[in-house]
């Protein structure tokens, strides 16, 4: 067991990689009543083409399998794991992203029992045809709910521009047609390929004793046998690095109240491996903050001129295999919005050169925000980076931000912002609205 000390924050992280490959992190929080545990596999909706375990050829599974599997893993032959958590006063949930699937519980009653339930239900799959059919109705409703969600459509609209013909442009849950094709065999193939402990990590935080917790996890794991770890063979995702496949502009008319516009920038540069990847991510976060936060002159001007309002938002998403920026707002003048944002991006370097005062202020802001979020067990555990940034935690971020220089930001800016990587997406109200 390794102990990572974070004296600045009065925190200690206990970590160990178990013999079966499972990565375990425990972070005790004194004074807390609650315990939060999250078990994550490095497998998400993008991983729909791979060589199934013990097979030789690439196979493609229907869109939405990772998410479908997440739903079905709770159900067992004679019980439902959800029920079992409830029986011990725990809340349970799960979520699927493009590159990860996570199962979690939160409880102030029986943390140890909950932890065992978590490990057991995720590590003992049971799928059958009848329940797979039934789930299609529930997930069908979930997909429909998102179809009515304008923000969700807006979000995917940009992804489809930046990544056409790439699994990123398909809803994580799949489509009504694709989930209709999902079979029990698909679920088992994905499960045995991606749910090996070697491909997973467990993060527990809250009212726990680290030694006891680790012992309990080891004891639980020692009762289970796993096949030897195999290298996972995923199809390489067709990610055109010239940017030629990007759709520069699309718009959609919907029964909505106000126009929405977004400017996206696809990352065509290479993200460094390991912790350096986190450094890269925080640099882009900083870059966006400097360009677009409410302390920036760009924001203030556009806000005061009524081009943007409080819905204005910017985000940087970086996961395994892709990264992009999106800057968006509800706006009465979508053309001008896009024009203005692109102009800022194009002269970003020039705008930021020598802006040391703003840079130091932004550092304070971003450091404070990180420390703020250390109050939340969910944030601490959910931000654990796993494979992506070689096990970096939220507590590692402050030092990285502290050490940043404006020159580094400018270099990253030059690599990242390329005019051929820019795209515009708009949702406009239908005529007559």
């Amino acid at each position: 067991m390794e102990i990572v000390q974070y004296p600045q924050f009065d925190e200690k992280l206990y970590k160990e990689k178990l013999d079966n490959g499972l990565e375990v992190n425990v972070l005790p929080k004194s004074g807390y009543h609650k315990t939060y545990g999250i078990l994550t596999t490095d497998y998400g909706s993008l991983d729909n083409k791979f060589v199934p375990l013990h097979k030789e050829k690439m196979e493609t599974v229907p869109d939405g399998v990772a998410h479908f599997l997440e739903h079905k893993l709770f159900e067992k032959e004679d019980h439902d794991a959800f029920d079992l958590f409830g029986h011990y006063g725990a809340d349970a949930n799960a979520f699927t992203s493009f590159t990860n699937t996570s199962y979690l519980f939160s409880t102030a009653s029986f943390p140890q029992k909950s932890l065992e339930i978590l490990l057991d239900f995720v590590q003992r799959p049971y799928f059958n045809a009848k329940s797979v059919e039934k789930e299609k109705g529930i997930i069908g409703q979930e997909i429909k709910m998102y179809e009515d969600d304008i923000d969700w459509r807006f979000y995917f609209g940009m992804l489809k521009n930046l990544y056409p013909d790439h699994p990123l442009s398909v809803d994580i849950a799949g489509t009504i047609d694709s989930i209709a094709k999902i079979t029990v065999q698909n679920l088992y193939d994905c499960y045995w390929t991606f749910y090996h402990p070697q491909n997973m990590n467990l993060f527990v935080t809250g009212a726990v004793d680290p030694e006891e917790t680790l012992d309990l996890i080891k004891e639980n794991q020692s009762k289970k046998s796993f096949s030897p770890a195999n290298e996972i063979k995923r199809a390489s995702l067709d990610n055109d690095e010239s940017g030629q496949d990007i759709i520069p502009y699309r718009m959609l008319e919907l029964d909505t109240q106000r126009p929405k516009a977004a400017v996206g920038v696809k990352g065509l540069d290479q993200v460094p491996d390991g912790r350096e990847g986190l450094v890269y991510k925080l640099r882009i976060d900083m870059l966006l903050w400097l360009l677009f936060s409410d302390t920036s002159t760009n924001y203030v001007r556009l806000y005061n001129e009524g081009v943007i309002d409080d819905s204005f938002d910017f985000m940087f998403q970086l996961e395994r295999g892709f990264h992009y920026v999106s800057v968006s707002s509800d706006t009465n003048d979508p053309q001008r919005f896009c024009h203005e944002i692109i102009a800022v991006l194009e002269k970003a370097e020039q705008l930021l050169k020598g802006q040391y005062t703003q840079f130091n202020l932004a550092k304070k802001e971003l450091i404070g925000r990180q420390i703020h979020s250390m109050n939340s067990l969910e944030t601490i555990a959910n931000q654990y980076s796993g494979h992506l940034f070689n096990g970096a935690t939220i507590f590692d971020k402050v030092a990285i931000i502290q050490d940043m220089t404006l020159e580094e930001i400018l270099t990253t800016c030059k690599d990242f912002i390329r005019s051929e990587a820019v795209s515009v997406y708009q949702i406009l109200p239908k005529e007559g609205n």
Binding site: H33, G86, G89, S109, D148, T295
Partner: protein, 419 residues
């Protein structure tokens, strides 16, 4: 414990080392009035955007950045018969920063400037700030229609409540907004500053004496405390009112409103919590199990209980064509509870879940502060142990009895046309 700083002005400090932040909330409380809802929402936005010291949004944001990413926001909330305009500030405790001492003084000074020294000239709010915030609030009101879950909940509220102040959305109405002028809002602001009950709540690794000193220095004058009933009570109707609306949506929404005249921390309150948990308030509730898990008719189907308004609502997202089937299942669940069809396991698991979520809320600075404010308003503080004992004491019959008081009053159905 609450300390009375002046008549009508209280301070409640909870020192704790558990969190890395200090949180301060200054609440302006007045009796709920349908005529002032919109004004208060706009006032919150105008005060948050600028002040004499920080005349632009940029100046406010830079000040917050200087205080290491401090958070500041003014929110509005309707709770039973009162309206709360809450100025909330939070910042990282200095011990985690390479900062000098004094963030607490700075925080109070900042709040004082925002609340007492707004950006005003000639007894009216700064025209530009005012117009921008007014316009943006108008846009927000417009976009509520795009959030179908929220839209359905607001539509249900509109047909269920008889009282205008309860039916109106807590962010107000466009009709009222149109009429507000910078002058009228400023004059309303001076009334609030003069008359609203003031409750200050602080939590974090802070010194109580120091907080008291800082609170005392805030120039609120003496005023009256709210002394009416906090709880809104509406007579049960014998007839059910129903509204069906058509929109081009993929998923229909069926929302139901019930009257449950059991109020916060009164005799049956804990039984009502258990009832709502079994009915639809928790992940393993009857609604979830039967509408979603067994019948596969919905992605979500849940209930919530408003103990300040004696009101239970059910929300579902369904295929429009299944409306009757869903409604039948929902009614059956309530009937079952009324007839005592609850298993021991359901009963016990619900209690366990409620205990766990009560304790879990203590781990959130936001929930902690909200709870303290409610304690002050209800003049009742209950210990963790006391709460747990009260919940434990709820018996099976109590839950059935509460269920029997629950009567369906209103149905709102948002019909979908697209497939």
């Amino acid at each position: 414990m609450r300390t009375e700083i002046r008549s009508g002005m209280g301070l409640t400090v909870t020192p704790t080392k558990k969190f890395k932040t200090t949180r301060i909330a200054i609440a302006l409380i007045e009796p709920l009035d349908s005529k002032s809802l919109t004004k208060r929402m706009l006032l919150a936005n105008v005060l948050e955007a600028a002040s004499e010291h920080f005349p632009t949004q940029k100046a406010v944001a830079e000040k917050l950045s200087k205080m290491y990413g401090a958070g500041f926001g003014i929110t509005v909330e309707r709770r039973g018969n009162v309206h709360i305009l809450n100025c909330v500030f939070d910042c990282v405790n200095e011990r985690y920063l390479d900062a000098e001492e004094g963030l607490l003084d700075e925080a109070f000074a900042f709040l004082k400037q925002c609340i007492f020294e707004p950006l005003v000239s000639n007894e009216e709010f700064d025209q530009a700030t005012f117009e921008r915030q007014k316009k943006n609030l108008g846009f927000y009101m417009q976009t509520v229609r795009d959030d179908k879950q929220l839209y359905a909940a607001l539509s249900l509220q509109k047909i269920y409540f008889a009282d205008e102040a309860q039916r109106t959305p807590s962010f107000g109405t466009y009709e009222q907004l149109k009429k507000i002028t910078p002058k009228a809002l400023y004059s309303y602001y001076t009334e609030c500053i003069r008359n609203d009950q003031i409750e200050i709540v602080v939590s974090g690794n802070v010194d109580e004496k120091k907080c008291e000193e800082l609170a005392r220095a805030l120039p609120f004058t003496e005023r009256q405390e709210f002394n009416g009933s906090l709880f809104y009570n509406q007579r049960q109707n014998f007839e059910i009112n129903e509204e069906v609306e058509h929109q081009t949506v993929v998923q229909g929404k069926l929302d139901l409103a019930y009257s449950l005249p059991v109020y916060y921390r009164t005799a049956d309150y804990y039984a009502a919590l258990v009832f709502n948990g079994i009915f639809g308030g928790l992940p393993l509730s009857k609604l979830f199990m039967n509408v979603r898990e067994k019948a596969s008719l919905a992605y979500y189907a849940n209930s919530s209980y408003d103990s300040f308004r004696g009101f239970v609502s059910v929300q579902t997202g369904i295929q429009a064509k299944n409306r009757n089937a869903v409604q039948t299942i929902i009614s059956k669940q309530l009937e079952d509870i009324k007839n005592g069809q609850i298993t021991q396991r359901e009963f016990q698991d619900t209690k366990k879940a409620l205990q766990s979520s009560f304790l879990s809320r203590l781990d959130s600075p936001t929930n902690n502060l909200d709870q303290k404010l409610v304690n002050v308003l209800t003049r009742e503080e209950i210990s963790v142990q006391g709460w747990q004992t009260a919940l434990e004491a709820v018996c099976f019959e109590d839950v059935v009895e509460v269920a029997q008081k629950t009567e369906l009053q209103s149905i709102y159905f948002l019909d979908g046309e697209v497939n």
